[in-house]
């Protein structure tokens, strides 16, 4: 196998999954551990008929790139600086090629190239907003509006956060509205299957939970409806208020926790105490919202409106900015959050869903 004269160079035959076969200088091909192993263990690659079949992830275009890389790197005597300059130029590729290259290099076990391209991909992600990353890599924007509009926990008395939350609540309400229209349609389809009594109790705002054939989500809706007859106007109003209450809930809760925190932290770690505290708070929240002076409410609405107008740029960016402006968080808020989750979990009757929500909220809280 030794190369005596240049014209006697040895070649290795490689075949990509599209069926095309090419010969590659032995020393270049052998730079890939996967090919090297094939040659040494199976003796393949010595002729066109015994070409080494490359993994599926290596398409012909990417193979060209990889061989360029190997051709340069297998030559001895490059200084570190030369290697670095070469690598830097080499990875100036679009994200598609970079991803394909990473994947192909991985399948050929070409570790240094995998490291190089992974770092390049990381650099592209670095410091970008989620929107930018999604755009750059064509990631599907498949988290629902609802998920994105989860209210941020209001950790301070920062009015901007409060306004943001109210705005979110409003958006969520709109969403719910749309959803509800759909649900009503669905519900109507089912109605004729139920008894008249069921229907009556449903319309009169009776507890539908036991008999409804609906998902957990809809059950929650029903629960809300029970105080009031299904009058669309008042129902909306109620829901709106409840939404806002939810968004304020955490703020209030945290405020209270701060008071307690100095007294005894250990106490707070116990489920029971925080749960009790929470239910009290829930109650308080309702009071706060209900007690709003109509004039004040109007003013707040105006404020929210105004705030919304100012927020015409990308959402998460704004959220970041606002969060960057600072707000206070206490250690206890984790416990706070977890008990909120547990609490809502009971209400929803769907702990999986709650765990998911909880998780997402934490993400939003921590890093946005």
């Amino acid at each position: 196998m030794a190369i005596v004269r240049p014209e006697m160079k040895s070649y290795i035959w490689l075949q990509t999954t599209d069926g095309s076969i090419q010969e590659v200088e032995e020393e270049v091909a052998m730079f890939c551990p996967m090919i090297c192993r094939e040659v040494l263990q199976t003796g393949m690659g010595s002729s066109k008929n015994y070409a080494i079949k490359l993994p599926q992830r290596v398409n012909p275009a990417v193979l060209g790139l990889i061989l360029d890389y190997c051709r340069f790197h297998q030559l001895p005597g490059h200084s570190n600086k030369e290697l670095k300059t070469y690598d830097e130029k080499f990875i100036r590729l679009d994200t598609k090629n970079l991803c394909e290259l990473t994947s192909a290099a991985d399948s050929l076990q070409l570790r240094p190239l995998v490291d190089l391209t992974s770092r390049a991909l990381a650099r592209i992600i670095e410091g970008k907003t989620p929107e930018e990353i999604r755009e750059t890599f064509h990631l599907p924007d498949d988290l629902t509006e609802e998920e994105k509009l989860e209210p941020l926990r209001n950790m301070t008395d920062d009015p901007r956060i409060r306004l943001l939350n109210r705005l979110y609540a409003r958006k969520r309400k709109e969403l719910k509205e749309r959803e509800k229209v759909k649900n009503v349609e669905v519900a109507e389809e089912h109605m004729d299957k139920r008894s008249v009594d069921d229907l009556l109790s449903f319309i009169n705002g009776g507890d539908g939970d036991s008999k409804c054939v609906r998902s957990a989500k809809n059950k929650k809706k029903n629960r809300r409806r029970k105080d009031q007859p299904r009058n669309s106007a008042s129902n909306n109003d109620n829901e709106n208020r409840e939404k806002e209450t939810e968004s304020l809930n955490s703020a209030h809760y945290n405020g209270a926790v701060e008071d307690v925190s100095s007294s005894n932290r250990a106490l707070m770690l116990q489920d029971s105490s925080s749960a009790t505290l929470l239910s009290n708070l829930d109650f308080d929240d309702a009071d706060i919202d209900d007690g709003l002076d109509p004039a004040l409410k109007e003013e707040i609405d105006r404020e929210v409106e105004d705030f919304a107008r100012r927020l015409n740029s990308v959402w998460p960016e704004r959220m970041q900015e606002i969060y960057a402006l600072g707000q206070e968080r206490r250690l206890l808020q984790i416990h706070g959050n977890s008990s909120v989750a547990r609490y809502t979990g009971k209400r929803n009757g769907s702990s999986m869903n709650v765990a998911h929500l909880f998780y997402r909220k934490l993400i939003l809280i921590v890093f946005l």
């Binding site: 994200t95 598609k96 991803c99 394909e100 990473t102 994947s103 991985d106 995998v114 490291d115 992974s118 770092r119 991909l121 990381a122 650099r123 992600i125 670095e126 410091g127 989620p130 990353i133 999604r134 890599f137 064509h138 990631l139 599907p140 924007d141 498949d142 988290l143 994105k148 998460p316 960057a324 402006l325 600072g326 707000q327 206070e328 968080r329 206490r330 250690l331 808020q333 984790i334 998780y359 997402r360 934490l362 993400i363 939003l364 809280i365 921590v366 890093f367 946005l368």
Partner: protein, 416 residues
Amino acid sequence: MEMDIDYISNLPEHITDKILSCLSLRDAVRTSILSRKWRYKWISLPQLVFDNQSLLISSQDQTLIRNKLINIVDHVLLLHSGPIQKFKLSHRDLQGVNDIDRWILFLSRGSLKEFILEIWKGHRYKLPASLYSCQKLIHLEIFNCMIRPPTPFNGFKNLKSLDLQHITMEQDVFDNLISSCTLLERLTLMNFDGFSQLNIHAPYLLFFDIGGVFEDVNFNATNNLAIVSIGLYATAGYDQNPALGSTGNMIKFFAPLPRIQRLEVQSFFLKYLAAGKVPERLPTPCIELNYLSFRINFCDRAESLGALCILRSSPNLQELEILVRPDDQAVDGRDARISEEYFHNCPFNQLQLVKLVGISYAKQELNFVNFLLANSPVLEKMTIKPAAAIGGCELLKELLRFRRASVRAEIIYLDP
């Protein structure tokens, strides 16, 4: 359309893991809101680094920053799933708060291999007992902490690298820690208090870097030690050490270091070495020593003799760096002079590079330069950087006159 295919999300998991581990923690965690496929990718990151780069908190309010930091670490640890191999906490705005205890306790239940804790503000943070149960640790790096393991503590059995800076610990704790971490290969120790005897019993130790105030260094079973850098930051009290007896520090220090390859003698440590009796050369030469750097006050005769002793005992030295410390106390000129015979019979047959920094026009210094040039037949380059521009011309004139054993030697004069 081909352009819209999401390639990155379909990469193998170990590659997306690799990409995530290249990102700062902040960016890594933020990937969870990109799309459903990215939702939970980050949570198995094996390395968690909380420092100023990975956590951007723009605020002036210290309490707020602190609370936010604590909150972030709490959340990340709560959400994380899978083994944590590396945990680094080094935020400039974080003091030694109690919350760290809780995190360490949590980490100690896993298989933590690398733990780095740097407290940049406030008092020394007392490391919790749970840390000492992290028996999988390979690398431990501590800054501004108090180390007091529960007794009995049997060491970190897998620890290979230990870096302690600005720490407080008792003498017996230190001795026990070093000798019980039996696999220790690297030890860095900077600015410590609570102990003053450096008793180093470490059979696998290769690298030893120390800087601080101490009274004595005792190597024991350090036969593999190859790279040593020692800086003694205080000068008092080494001349009259009663424990020295007849041997002196020089012999005691080098005897347990048969494999030494690189040695840096910093600050006042040469003074320590020169305390007691200084032999003309060591009983056993440092055969493998190829790099030597020392800081010296040429006006101190003992130091000059000490330096000469090391040089004479290093036949295979290739690179030498001499940093001149300005005279810190008035030493009688007559005392400092070393008679010519000290410079005889000392060929540096391997010495190629010499660097002299901070020299002046003093006679003792010039003698030394002359000595090196005259005894280094393969010298390639001598770089000289004087302490001050004044007298530079006179210095050059003298330098030009010196005979050089190496025909290839070039002298490079750098402006101060």
